[in-house]
């Protein structure tokens, strides 16, 4: 056991870049996947809607920790070596795809039917109808819950520490094992997460209030 030094604290705080990088990668991956899931959920084909719903239910009905474990162990079955970083990035992206897909489905469905019908009668095909008419209107409604989920995702990256990815939580555990100052160390880490997540939560709440006022 040794004394907690400034270097240790710096080591923990600097590890936040891995937390942020993982969050960004998972958010981008989940954004692409989520768009596909949301479009599938609102498609005209019943089997495609059903497929997307099953995907969402599986991810909403199992722990994120299990999803990360499987992301870590499944590639091994196919003889692919995966490091904790890759497993965490893929696992969190698949997780985010399901949740963002469900959030965005809701936003797409809130856009009045008349918009879709008007686009039809103008002779627009699926792609311009979705991407020029429906989605631009859905985005406004989607922003607050999307940012709310981003906060969940950032907090979720802490579970990557359990499969061995050294982000801020794992860095804190490593330093704690050497210095045994758990209260100071974990309070510091909690503060770092809070400083990242709280402004996002507050922004999401303000945006939501603006929307309810606008729709009144």
């Amino acid at each position: 056991m040794r004394v907690l030094s400034e270097g240790d604290i710096l080591f923990i705080i600097m590890a936040v870049r891995w937390t942020l990088l993982l969050s960004i990668v998972a958010f981008i991956g989940g954004g692409i996947g989520g768009l596909i899931v949301a479009l599938a959920r609102t498609s005209e084909f019943k089997w495609l809607r059903w497929l997307a719903l099953s995907y969402i239910k599986v991810f909403q009905g199992t722990p994120l920790l299990m999803q990360l474990f499987l992301a870590f162990f499944v590639p091994g079955i196919f003889g692919i070596d995966v490091d904790p970083w890759g497993a965490a990035a893929v696992g969190l992206s698949l997780h985010a795809s399901a949740f963002l897909g469900e959030i965005w489905r809701g936003s797409i469905e809130v856009v009045p039917r008349g918009q879709s019908e008007a686009a039809y009668s103008l002779g627009l095909t699926y792609v311009p109808r979705m991407f020029l008419i429906i989605i631009p209107q859905a985005i406004r409604i989607a922003i607050p819950p999307t940012i709310g989920f981003l906060v969940q995702l950032i907090k979720g990256t802490s579970l990557a520490s359990i499969i061995g990815f050294v982000e801020i939580t794992r860095a804190a555990q490593i330093i704690n094992n050497a210095t045994f100052r758990p209260f100071t160390i974990f309070a510091l880490v909690a503060l770092v997460y809070f400083l990242i997540c709280w402004p996002l939560s507050a922004y999401s709440k303000v945006m939501e209030r603006k929307l309810t006022v606008a729709s009144r």
Binding site: Q60, T62, P63, M66, F69, L70, K155, L159, T169
Partner: protein, 223 residues
């Protein structure tokens, strides 16, 4: 070389898995019940408590909602002993879940309280309903109807979140899985089976909660 699946190595441990699942259910159930007591008290404090209490409750809610559950567990299990409070991993897991779900619950219960407007109570009075009838039909039932969906999905989130308690070896399903795979080295098979068990529990609760809603909480149709 193709991978050789060995699920038999997992099912050999089924009593442990079953005990783990039961532990998860008991832990989540207890945390939900105690957490809701915290939430109701907190919601009352937030709606009608003094200014300083409302401020403390706001701080509690914001801190819990904006930090990871894993860090909350570590603070309670590893951090509290520094303050002289030493808890077993089971107690620490329960306490962490209660503290966590309590913060989310306050907002849910408060929404339920605020969903009842004064006008409805006055309408009940003018219809000649007795106070107990007003409480039952105008306050209790509609507010439960209003918060039932968020409350039940909060419970399922809590159950899934309890898997994080394995990080302090709390003996629930995920911890049991960790134990087993450290002995039979069948990581994929163990975690796959356990993931299916969690999913089965979620499906069961989704079904049960929907059935309860249909049986007792159906809203009168507006026709």
């Amino acid at each position: 070389m193709a991978y050789q699946f060995e699920f038999a190595d997992v099912f050999a441990y089924w009593p442990e898995l079953l005990r783990g699942a039961l532990h998860t259910l008991v832990l989540s159930g207890l945390a939900m019940v105690i957490g809701m007591v915290v939430a109701v008290l907190g919601a009352l404090g937030k709606t009608s408590g003094p200014r300083w209490l409302q401020w403390i409750l706001d701080a509690y809610i914001e801190v819990i909602r904006n930090t990871p559950f894993l860090i909350q567990i570590f603070m309670i299990y590893f951090g509290l002993p520094a303050a002289g409070v030493r808890l077993s991993s089971e107690t620490a897991a329960l306490l962490a879940l209660v503290v966590n779900v309590g913060a989310y619950g306050i907002e849910i219960i408060r929404a339920g309280i605020e969903s009842i407007s004064k006008g409805q109570i006055e309408a009940g009075k003018s219809l000649g309903l007795r106070p107990l009838q007003i409480f039952r039909y105008i306050i209790l039932k509609p507010s439960i109807q209003a918060i039932y969906p968020s409350l039940t999905s909060q419970f399922i989130l809590l159950m899934l979140n309890s898997s994080v308690c394995s990080a302090i070896a709390a003996g629930e399903l995920t911890a049991a899985a960790g134990d087993i795979q450290s002995r039979n080295f069948r990581s994929f098979e163990v975690y796959f089976v356990v993931t299916c068990m969690y999913f089965a529990m979620s499906v069961l609760f989704w079904g049960a909660f929907a059935a309860i809603e249909r049986a007792w909480l159906r809203k009168p149709s507006l026709r």
